[in-house]
Amino acid sequence: MLELKIQNISKHYKEKTAADDITFTLKNGVYGLLGENGAGKTTLLRILCGILMPDRGDVTLDGISIRKMGAGYRTLLGYLPQDFGYYPDFTVKRYLLYLASLKALPRDKALVKYKEMLELTGLLGEEKQKIKHLSGGMIRRLGIAQALLNDPKILLLDEPTAGLDPKERIRFRNIISSLGHDRIVLLSTHIVSDVANAADRILIMRRGKIMENNTPDALIQAASGHVWEFVTTPAKADICQKQFTVCNVKTEGNELRMRVLSGERPFAGALAAAPDLEDAYLYATENREVL
C-alpha cells in the first residue's frame, strides 16, 4: 500500500500564504479536499504533482522524496488541473494517444486504454472530433480520461466537476468511488456534494492550513446538535443571517424556512436537524480553530 506523506509544506506568494506548514498522510482511498476559493487547494495539488516547489517541507512516497524519484513518481501519477489546458486542433484520439506516449504507454496498450477511457467518460464516438469543437463538459471529461489513462496509483483531481452537468457529475462520482480501492485519489473541490458520497476522508482547507482531516461520518457527528431548522418571516430572517451561520434558506409561501448553525437552540420553535456534510463543512470552517 502506498503512503504519500506531506511534511511541513509551506508555500508563500508575494503577499499570500497558500500553504502554511501542512502535514498529513494519504494512503489508498478517496480523499476529498474541501475549501473555499483561494484556500490553497490548487497550490497543494501542484506541490503534490511536483510541478511547484514548496518553500519549505517535503513530499515523500513510501519514505522517498518525490523530487528524488523524478520520472518514477510521475509514472504513478494522474493529474487533472483546475485549468485544463488542451490543444484545440488535436482530435480526441490524437490527444489521448499523445498523452499515452507522454505517459510511456506502449502503442498497443495505448490503443486499448484510450478506447477504455473514452467509454468510461462517455466520449466514445467523439474520437475524430477536434477538441475545439467539444462542449465544456466534454472537454472536462477528456481531462478526466487523460488523468486515468496510465491507470495511476496516485490520482490528483483539481475541481474535476467544474462545467459538468448533473448527469455527468453523478457519472463522475461513480467513477471516482470505484477507483479508490487500490490507489490514492485526492479530489479537490469547493462543492461539498462532489465528495459527500465518494470520499473516505475529508480534508478541509482554509487560508493555507488543513483545518480538518476526518471521515465524513466523524465530521457530521461533530456538527451534530449544532444544526437547527425553523420557519420565520423575511424581516426576522435578516436578523438571523447576521446572528448565525446560515446553511440554507428556502421560501415557503410568505415565510422562510431557515437552517442555521448554532451552539444552542436559537429560538423556542427551532428544531434540531440532522446535519449533512455541507452543514459539517460549514461548522468546521466557521467554528473550529485551525489544526
Binding site: 497550490t43 510541478i51 510521475r74 493529474y79 490543444y87 486542433d89 506516449s101
Partner: protein, 381 residues
C-alpha cells in the same frame, strides 16, 4: 510518437502555411520581375531582354570560357567595347539603341571588374594597370571564366531575402514551442507525465529544428531550381573569385576559397545558411522557454535576430577600430543575420571557423538551457 505530435503542433498553425505560401509568392515574383526583368543584352544596338538575353549572354560567355587572362580580357573589350549604363544610352520605345553598340554579361564583367573604372572616376578607358594587385590576380590565368549569370550576387541577394523570410517563419514557429505550453496551461499536465520533462523537451526541440531545416531546404531548393532552370549550370563551374570578387578584393586578409568553383562555395554558403537558421531556432526556443507569453517570446526573438545586425551596421562599423570593437564585430558577425555571408567574402578561415564555433555554442546552449528551463518550470508561480 512524441516527435510526431510535437511536429504536428508546429505544422498545424495556419499562420505558418500562409507565411510559407507568401514567402514562395514573394520569391517567385521577385525572381520574375527583378531578376529576370533586369537581364538585358545589346547586339548591334538591338536590345534583348529576359530569357533571350540570358541565352545570348550564355553563348557569348562560352566563347571566352576558360582561364581568364589579360589577353582574353583585351579581346573582349576589342570585340564588344565597354559597357555603358542604360540610363546613359539613347533608347527607342522598344529599348533598342544606337546601331554598333554591343553589351553582354561578359563585357559587363570586364568593365566592372577588370578595367580602370575605379581609378578613372567611373569611366573605363583601358584594362586596369598591372600594379592593381587584385585585378592583376583576376587576370593571371588562375581563375576559370564562364557564364556566371545568376550564380553571383544575384543569387546571394535573393538567398539573403529567403533567409530573412525563413528567419521570420522560424521565429513564428519556434516562439510558441514552450511559451504556448505555459500560456495554454498544458505544461501542468505534460510535466506530470513520465516522459513529460526531458524526452518531451528534446522532442520539441527536434521538431522545431526539423521544421526550420525543412522549410529552409524547401525554399532553397525552389530558388536553386529556378536559377538552374533559367541560368543553367555554367556559373557553378566558374572560379568563385570571379563570381564573388569580394573573395579576392574585399580584404587584405588571406582567403583560400577564391579559386574553388562557385558551386562549391555556394554549397558552403547554403550550409552556413542552414546553420544560421538552426541558431535562430535555438535562440528562439530558449526565449520561448523563459517567456510565459507567446507574443512576448515572438517580440524578443525578433529583437534577438535583428538588433545585433542593427547595432553592427549602425554603430560598430562606424566606430574607430580597436581590439574591443574588433572582438565585438567578430561576435556580432557570428550571429545568424550575418553568419552565411562569411563564405562569400574574404573572411579568413580562422575568423570563419571561430564564427561557426561561436554559433555552434549558441545553438547547443540555447537547446540545453531551453530544455532545462522548461523542465524546471513552476506552474502557477
Amino acid at each position: 510518437m512524441l516527435f510526431r505530435n510535437e511536429f504536428y503542433k508546429i505544422c498545424s498553425r495556419k499562420i505558418l502555411f500562409t507565411g510559407v505560401l507568401l514567402g514562395f509568392l514573394f520569391l517567385a515574383a521577385y525572381f520574375q520581375m527583378s531578376v529576370l526583368g533586369s537581364e538585358s543584352a545589346y547586339v548591334d544596338g538591338t536590345c534583348l531582354r529576359r530569357t533571350d538575353a540570358i541565352q545570348y549572354n550564355r553563348e557569348t560567355a562560352r566563347r571566352f570560357a576558360g582561364p581568364m587572362t589579360r589577353e582574353k580580357a583585351q579581346a573582349i573589350v576589342d570585340e564588344f567595347g565597354w559597357h555603358i549604363n542604360e540610363d546613359e544610352l539613347e533608347m527607342s520605345e522598344t529599348g533598342d539603341t544606337t546601331p554598333g553598340y554591343y553589351d553582354n554579361s561578359t563585357s559587363r564583367f570586364v568593365t566592372y571588374n577588370l578595367s580602370n573604372i575605379r581609378s578613372n572616376e567611373g569611366t573605363p578607358t583601358a584594362l586596369a594597370a598591372s600594379e592593381n594587385k587584385y585585378t592583376e590576380e583576376m587576370m593571371n590565368g588562375e581563375y576559370e571564366y564562364g557564364y556566371m549569370g545568376g550564380w553571383d550576387d544575384t543569387f546571394r541577394e535573393m538567398h539573403m531575402m529567403l533567409l530573412w523570410i525563413v528567419a521570420a517563419l522560424v521565429i513564428i514557429a519556434c516562439a510558441p514551442v514552450f511559451s504556448e505550453e505555459y500560456a495554454g496551461q498544458t505544461a501542468g499536465i505534460l510535466l506530470t507525465t513520465q516522459n513529460g520533462k526531458g524526452k518531451t523537451a528534446a522532442a520539441k526541440i527536434l521538431a522545431a529544428f526539423t521544421w526550420a531545416a525543412g522549410i529552409y531546404v524547401l525554399l532553397t531548393l525552389f530558388l536553386v531550381g529556378a536559377f538552374l532552370c533559367f541560368y543553367g549550370t555554367d556559373g557553378l563551374f566558374v572560379s568563385a573569385g570571379l563570381s564573388f570578387p569580394d573573395l579576392i578584393t574585399g580584404s587584405v586578409l588571406w582567403n583560400t576559397d577564391s579559386h574553388k568553383p562557385t558551386g562549391i562555395v555556394l554549397l558552403l554558403y547554403l550550409m552556413a545558411g542552414l546553420l544560421s537558421v538552426l541558431v535562430t531556432a535555438a535562440i528562439t526556443l530558449f526565449i520561448s522557454s523563459v517567456k510565459k507569453s507567446t507574443f512576448s517570446a515572438l517580440l524578443w526573438s525578433a529583437a534577438a535576430y535583428l538588433l545585433p545586425a542593427a547595432i553592427y551596421s549602425v554603430f560598430l562599423l562606424g566606430m574607430r577600430v580597436s581590439k574591443v570593437i574588433m572582438l565585438l564585430r567578430l561576435l556580432f558577425n557570428s550571429l545568424p543575420f550575418f553568419l552565411p555571408l562569411h563564405e562569400l567574402t574574404s573572411t579568413p578561415v580562422l575568423y570563419r571557423l571561430f564564427g561557426y564555433l561561436f554559433s555552434g555554442c549558441i545553438l547547443v546552449s540555447g537547446c540545453v538551457l531551453g530544455c532545462r528551463k522548461y523542465c524546471r518550470y513552476q506552474v502557477g508561480k
